[in-house]
């Protein structure tokens, strides 16, 4: 990990000093244990701020859309795929971004650690040798890192960014033996009634803060559908119908573009498992149209094209 951190700094410094980019977007140390925060470096002197560790969970591709300058982005597999999706959707020119691809073995899910600790607060944390060591008032524990990774990382098929300009470090082995749709399949096997009750319970916690939408790099609309007036399609109240519809429509809007980076679930302050819903859209796209988002700069997302022989078993 330390080698990767130094390599990232070297690459970033080179890009900045050679003026190949005007800005580097990476991660720097956060103000709390087990946290990093996005960092915007435009001066070579600030390069030392950049870090790389298992807490680099923010999705930096969010900060690329809308920029006019050339940027270099530190990108994990999921981040690089999302940049690719934004490029395909013509949100910014490919030549304006330098993807600094970094192999990722998974990011730590702070929520899993919080669940484990209950009301105890982590005051210090060190992650090394596949272990997470946490200390706080009256406790000093060690957790195996792999038990506390984000769910999206456990089934990640692209730990090495499939698209990049510079690759930092060595490629890591990909996970082959994981069923990424296990959670979705298990829900599919339940009855409609059971699924409805499940989603109703989960989504009734929603406080409509839109953290899920704002953290998602694919939600770049100037005016989101939920903010539209004249006509106002859907309400912004806490009524369960309004909340469920917000999530359904957002899932529909990211269908075929979502790569399951997990940022939405991580951002949710009410611990709603949004991945259960978003992952289904990925499954639909894979099964119906054989499409995987963000692995190729040529293929158009499924809802942006059509074929004569598309499946239509659902049409009378």
């Amino acid at each position: 990990m330390e080698n990767l951190e130094n390599s990232i700094r070297e690459v970033a410094e080179k890009l900045l000093s050679e003026k190949k980019v005007d800005l580097i977007i990476g991660y720097e140390r956060g103000t709390l244990p087990l946290r990093t925060t996005p960092c915007f470096v435009d001066k070579v002197e600030d390069i030392q701020k950049l870090v790389w560790n298992a807490s680099c969970d923010a999705n930096l591709s969010k900060y690329v859309v809308g920029r006019k300058e050339k940027v270099g982005v530190v990108a994990k597999g999921c981040d690089a795929r999302l940049i690719a999706v934004c490029v395909i959707e013509k949100q910014f020119p490919r030549e304006n971004v330098v993807i600094i691809g970094v192999p990722c073995l998974g990011v730590i899910d702070r929520k899993k650690i919080e669940m484990e600790l209950g009301d105890r607060e982590v005051l210090e944390a060190i992650v090394e040798d596949e272990q997470i060591k946490v200390k706080g008032e009256g406790f000093d524990l060690v957790f195996p890192k792999n038990d506390f990774l984000c769910d999206s990382c456990l089934t990640c098929k692209h730990r090495n960014p499939p698209i990049y300009d510079v690759f930092v470090g060595e490629k890591v082995p990909e996970i082959t033996e994981a069923n990424e749709f296990a959670e979705v399949s298990s829900l599919e096997s339940k009855s409609a009634e059971e699924r409805w009750e499940h989603f109703k319970e989960e989504l009734s916690k929603c406080i409509r803060c839109y953290a899920c939408r704002n953290v998602c790099p694919l939600c770049y609309c100037k005016i989101c559908f939920v903010d539209q007036t004249m006509p106002a399609w859907f309400g912004k109240t806490n009524d369960l119908a309004d909340t469920m519809i917000y999530h359904i429509v957002r899932a529909f809007h990211v269908a075929g573009r979502c790569v399951d980076c997990g940022a939405c679930s991580r951002a949710c302050p009410m611990d709603i498992n949004l991945r259960e819903l978003m992952k289904k859209t990925e499954k639909i796209m894979k099964e119906r149209y054989g499409y995987e988002a963000g692995v190729s700069l040529e293929k158009v997302p499924p809802l942006g094209e059509f074929k004569m022989d598309d499946p239509q078993e659902f049409i009378k």
């Binding site: 103000t31 996005p38 969010k62 839109y210 912004k236 806490n238 611990d271």
Partner: protein
Amino acid sequence: MKWKVIEKSKLPALIAELASEYEIFAPVKEKSIVSFERLSSGNEAYLGFRNTKKPPKEVFFPQTEVLFTYRIGEKDVEIVESPAVKAKMMVLGVRPCDARSFVLLDKFFSFGEHKDLYYLEKRKNTTVVGLACNHPLSTCFCTSLEGGPFGKEGMDLLLQDINDKYLIETVTERGEELVKKFPWLKDAEKADVEKAKMLSEDAENAVKSKVSVKDVSEKLDRMFDDPLWDQIYQKCLGCGVCTFLCPACCCFDILDEETEERKRVRIWDSCQFSCFTLQGSGHNPRPSGKERMRQRIMHKFNYFVKNHGESFCVGCGRCVQECPVNLDIREVVGAISTRQVE
């Protein structure tokens, strides 16, 4: 000031007795989240939390509130019904920072000619029972904002955890009246009061995070066009987590809903949303995150100070804990206080 004690084991019984007269809102634990809920037969109060996820402001200022229902007739509009406010409400288990937020919200909602009766009626009818903090979090900075872990502002009674008992300290007349209804509560012994005092001092010392708010307010007057804002806002996503979880934030929007009955509804809004200041003409005076972040900081630490004499923040630290990108308001205030400004 009367001090009483109650054994922790007897508290559920006390709450049950109170529930027959009051509508009680208390922290309830649901999986990993503790938030204020209306107590009913299906749930029970949980007081072992550090701080609740959502602040108790929603007891007086619900996220979705029907202001009135109306019907449009041939020639006029008929207001069909107005919601009734419960006569006796209680909110139990409020941390001193959150109770202090009620004082700030009172100033906001009663400012000027038009008082917000929806908020004020509920507030008038509610008894606030606070719960002192023995173990502040590392992100708490209440002591930098005129508060403290054993603070008593905004509450009628303060419960203090002294191991197997709670010390009950009456703060207001309303609190005293309430305690009189329970003559079986024992008087506190000197040792109990001293124990609480000791715990209070320990807790104050445990608030390690200090934010230099005092110098910032005046300085902000001269910083409106400072280039510092260009840097601060960059990582902000523009979501509403900090505003919705802030005990003091209370911006709202009003909509008319077209269900079977027409309703006028008030919902929470956030100054961080991109459409917050979008005008009917299409012009937006706060077009980017920079203006919105600047506005948030200035409202909390400058405008509110000028209008009401104190900062619009209680130092609860929820925004620090929950921000998806770890944008730390303590860092922002620190950067401002050390900034060289003419």
